[in-house]
């Protein structure tokens, strides 16, 4: 199942999970922030929602924590096989 949430707009984050994608892929779109700092900020949140192990592709454009959480929640909901009432698309 391929799922995408969020956007690459400013103050947002886009997370894509594609079947068969080999590893986590991280694109930091905020040049002022070091990549490692952004990675260390986002990945623990992904882990909290059980998403880090699904090899997500991430475009980070300055999302605050509440935004990352909201995107993770939508993604986790969508990936739960019980919740197939609605699809999430990017």
């Amino acid at each position: 199942m391929n799922v995408s949430v969020g956007s690459i707009e400013s103050s947002d984050i886009k997370i894509v999970i594609e079947e068969g994608h080999p590893a986590i892929q991280f694109i930091n779109m905020v040049p002022e922030l070091p990549d490692q700092q952004v990675y260390d900020y986002v990945v623990p949140l992904l882990e909290q929602y059980g998403l880090a192990g699904r090899s997500p592709q991430i475009w980070f454009n300055g999302a605050n924590e509440w935004v990352v959480r909201s995107r993770c929640e939508a993604l986790a909901y969508s990936l739960n096989p019980v919740n197939q009432r609605e699809g999430v698309t990017g």
């Binding site: 949430v5 969020g6 707009e9 400013s10 103050s11 947002d12 999302a63 605050n64 509440w66 935004v67 959480r69 909201s70 995107r71 929640e73 939508a74 909901y77 969508s78 009432r85 609605e86 699809g87 999430v88 698309t89």
Partner: protein
Amino acid sequence: MSLAAEQLVYFYVPGYKPNYIEYAMTFYPMNIILCLEDGTPEDKKLEARYVVKNALQEFTDSEHTLIVRINSVHTPHWEQDLEEVVPQRPDRIRLPMVKTADDLRQIERKVQEMLRDLGLDYTPSYEVMIECCEAIANIGDIHQASDHIYAFTFGGTDYFNDCVAKGLLDPAREVLSAKQKLGAYCRSMELQCFDTTYMAFRDLEGFREDCLLSREYGFTGRSVIHPDQVAVVQEIYGTSLA
């Protein structure tokens, strides 16, 4: 008499756009409507629900009045909207396309069930949107259906579309007539009544004229979609009719 924006201005923000929400939070205090309905495309409904849920948590101490417009009871989304939104205790819930008293009762039943199940001490109040001919005909019954109506609001675009769908000859005239009826009803009942958005946000002179007419009809405030419209609403609705 001059009233502050928090009593008059209802600023719509699309629920799926966190950057718009964060921007709106920088305004001086007013009513911010986090919109899950028309402001959110169909394929973003789920994402928007979680953005709005988390925004309510994040900005719980904000000086704004946070209102959530859920999806209509005539869609498949409204129950899930309530399930995510109600536990966050928004200041008010805006209910679109309420056609009958039963529509409102159905929503209140769902909310009451949730509050009971969650053990939440919270009584939401509602802004009921009148957006079709049936609703205007049923306005008294709708009003009687709940003790928690904060205000009625008018949805002009949907009302216009309803008139077109019904084959009425002059939909624009029907919209004006409905606004007059709703304004008069609310004035007679001493209820707050908020007018519809004015989509041509660059036409401030047209907006001003429309606001003056709307105030005459009995509307006490207005929904807006652009910051430039805020001052006009404050000026017109914040001044009582002599």
